[in-house]
Subunit: 146 residues, 3 copies
Amino acid sequence: MANQTVTVVDADLRASVEQFYARHMQLLDDGRIEEWADGFTEDGSFAIDSHPQVARGRRQIVDGATRTAQGLRDQGIARRHWLGMAAISPDRSGEGIRVRSYALVYQITAADGPSLRSSTTCEDLLVPDGDSWLIRERLVCQDQPA
Amino acid sequence: MANQTVTVVDADLRASVEQFYARHMQLLDDGRIEEWADGFTEDGSFAIDSHPQVARGRRQIVDGATRTAQGLRDQGIARRHWLGMAAISPDRSGEGIRVRSYALVYQITAADGPSLRSSTTCEDLLVPDGDSWLIRERLVCQDQPA
Amino acid sequence: MANQTVTVVDADLRASVEQFYARHMQLLDDGRIEEWADGFTEDGSFAIDSHPQVARGRRQIVDGATRTAQGLRDQGIARRHWLGMAAISPDRSGEGIRVRSYALVYQITAADGPSLRSSTTCEDLLVPDGDSWLIRERLVCQDQPA
């Protein structure tokens, strides 16, 4: 019963999830915050374990990400978000899918060039939106020393 | 005949391989060594070019990985294994598939935060296991200076 | 209309693109420059924003990459190209697909071990070649500080 917990994933589903994340991260890194936030449901939530407040709803998500993006621009920092090793499983509610993935953040500055900024684990609840997905819940956790 | 050596890959096959590796690496990084080792066949082998001994069979694989995981915990080191650029081809035996991929190991410590630990090339022989895969042979080679 | 600009991607198409890139990058990193260049159309172009000249046609592409590979070997540098976060969209011409992706270059030297060398964004026009793809146009841009 080695694989009893392995969830078989439909190829179309996986392809649509990967395409969704590729565009999602490129929009963020390009500073297209409104379009990026359209990847959340209207009532979507975005929690980061190192932040005290959970952003609830697209408006709060846009506001927080806009402040972050402005702060990075002011410091001359560009970022590249890589999401990978995405393990997909059905959500118990039957309404969507759970995706647990790794996300690395690289940043580029004039002084240091490109460097690794952080290593995180990202847990999303995605719900269908036509042929693509929207994020209803996101929890990002900084990877901690053992 | 530019593409005579390009192997066309079935989308379902590729999706199942990617899902397999995502779970496989997350289990390892979460210290769930028994479940991780269930991703090998009972008689599976795991060779690392920088290690003198090949681990043969799940028991040896579990034992070796448990020692490694304990050592890392003792040093306060967490790791994240990223596998990517997976080139899939049929195995000549007809029993499975060969996957040659890149694997990066990041680690997280209190002193250094996240950093790149090693860059390797991973060659697996995967055999079907229901709707997923098991590793019959793994060879990991540290990438060497030219 | 949150997703009006999201392009739905066929799973077979995405799988074939990922397989193409995996082999393509492994050939480059293995120094198999002629085979790597066979991944471009005969009249393919390869532009890098930090290089003054666009390589036009397989011959120029081979020549440039051979010089680069030789220079790296002379310095004892191995490289690993990771391409990820591939956002695929149809090309307006209807002849192929556009792929905008991130590409990281890691390098391995005796002195430094593995390290991140550069973070780039890669825009390809791929045209079908049997069951796989050929690159008609490639533009690689170094990611810049904000």
